[in-house]
Symmetry: C2
Subunit: 299 residues, 2 copies
């Protein structure tokens, strides 16, 4: 769809970026509350973790400030006693797509300009029975405007997590169904297809939803859906973690966790389009690779 | 250059693949001797490591045996008390390049057939002061025939290893100079350029040599050079390890080692052409990812 008038586009950009920042703040607060509530296990004597925030500016591409690139983000990271490592990035950037990428991006036929804002999160937990998670929602504006994102759950031992997967899927389905009953089956399949390691012939995790280039023509509805995805994540993932964080584990469980995390690394570096796109276009390496697990094994 | 007569090509293939296997056997014996000689440090009470070998067949592409693919390899791996994880793979495979890759490969204009044999090695050491290493030499035959390979050293703390780098480089220079005085400066630069992480703006290690598509028109000379590279590696790397394996280390050294290994993972999965090519063409995942470190950190 073509864009509405410039004032409306500006209002949309502001509303979306403010939402992503507000969601980030609520997620961080909830994760810190989880840190406070740990009362058992080998890490209970550690100080509860707290997020630290680091702002970064998007550098001018190839040192050329005239390329019109700009914006930046805030990387919030926490190394805690429940969350071994979690990063929650918000970024709002603008610039010009290079010719290399322009052809792949809708709405850049007449103008290579883009604006993008989003929130992106990856959490790696200490307890091997607490699933890792990824969540990202974003709004992109070129000559068109659309939303994208998703969330997917990665238990270390999938065979023991049918219940977690079911509740995670149910929360996301509820968010999808509130917008359009066709969304959930499509976006669930899209997630299963995307988060897959062909060289291992195995899925990265237990799925969730993935969507991109969502533009029904009704911006308010699409934005509301993207907010619902964020709300669903903020509701269900903390509940899963609270139900798992006190479960005892063995050294063998930890070993299995570190090996599963190796698969996560393989996916992120071999296949994840956001990671590859970000690194190849001079994005903030530290923020992009915040998704890497704190420790991984290939024994 | 075009190929000689079929009988000569067959003799070349046999000579090259036998050399790679013989080199593998000598390297494994030398590494096991190093395992035997450890007499200090926190792992001295472990059993000396021994290689185990696992043969694998190259599967028919897409299950289609008529594609003419075939061959296989032997993966030799050791988890020892000096070598935390080392893999030495030999493989001799043949088949047809897919259209996707054919255009990038010399000598496939009239015929997509290829034959390839080589030895490939990556070693990750327990002692953080003992450099990791990679070595690979190979012979490829399409409508043309050429050699390629190289070796590069990755100390965990480059600032402390000027001496190791100097002796490693000297050994490889000697191998190069025995063939052609122009080789070393070219192949050293090629290595520095290739083993580089642009997103980190840092080299993977301290260099060595890298060469590809070496076909001077004198097969015997090119083969002799490739053998010299193998001999140089077998001479210098064990000497470096023997000089470092007894050096005491701290927990902070180990932590630094695990972080440096994370960079190794990033290079292998984001940039290494052999890894990507192998995984995308249905190669043996276990053998290809044998290069991954046993443990790595992104704290």
């Amino acid at each position: 769809m073509s864009l509405p008038d410039a004032e409306t586009v500006a209002q949309h950009k502001t509303a979306a970026s403010q939402w992503f920042e507000a969601l980030r703040t609520r997620i961080c607060a909830e994760f810190e509350a989880i840190e406070d509530s740990l009362a058992t296990g080998p890490h209970q004597d550690m100080e509860p973790g707290r997020f630290s925030r680091k702002a970064w500016d998007r550098p001018a591409v190839n040192g050329d400030a005239s390329s019109g690139s700009g914006g930046g983000g805030v990387m919030a990271t926490m190394r805690g006693r429940v969350f071994e490592k979690v990063g929650v990035n918000v970024s709002t950037v603008h610039g010009q797509f290079s010719d290399q990428f322009r052809g792949q991006i809708p709405g850049t036929e007449d103008d290579a300009s883009f604006w993008a804002s989003g929130v992106s999160l990856v959490a790696h937990m200490r307890n091997p029975h607490a699933p890792a998670v990824h969540m990202n929602t974003r709004h992109i504006v070129t000559g068109q405007a659309w939303f994208g994102g998703g969330a997917d759950l990665t238990p270390m031992f999938p065979e023991n997590h049918a219940d977690d997967a079911a509740s995670f899927h149910a929360a996301l389905q509820s968010a999808c169904d509130s917008a359009d009953p066709s969304y959930y089956p499509r976006f669930k399949d899209w997630c299963d297809e995307y988060f897959y390691l062909p060289h291992r012939d195995e899925p990265r995790g237990m799925g969730g939803i993935f969507y991109d280039k969502l533009d029904t023509g009704d911006w308010d509805t699409d934005f509301a859906f993207t907010k619902s995805v964020g709300e669903a994540f903020l509701d269900i993932y903390p509940r899963i973690i609270r139900s798992r964080m006190d479960q005892p584990w063995t050294d063998a469980d930890r070993e299995g966790q570190l090996i599963k995390r190796g698969r996560y690394v393989e996916f992120n570096l071999l296949h994840d389009r956001g990671t590859k796109f970000g690194l190849m276009t001079g994005g903030n390496t530290e923020a992009i690779l915040m998704s890497m697990p704190p420790e991984a094994k290939w024994p």
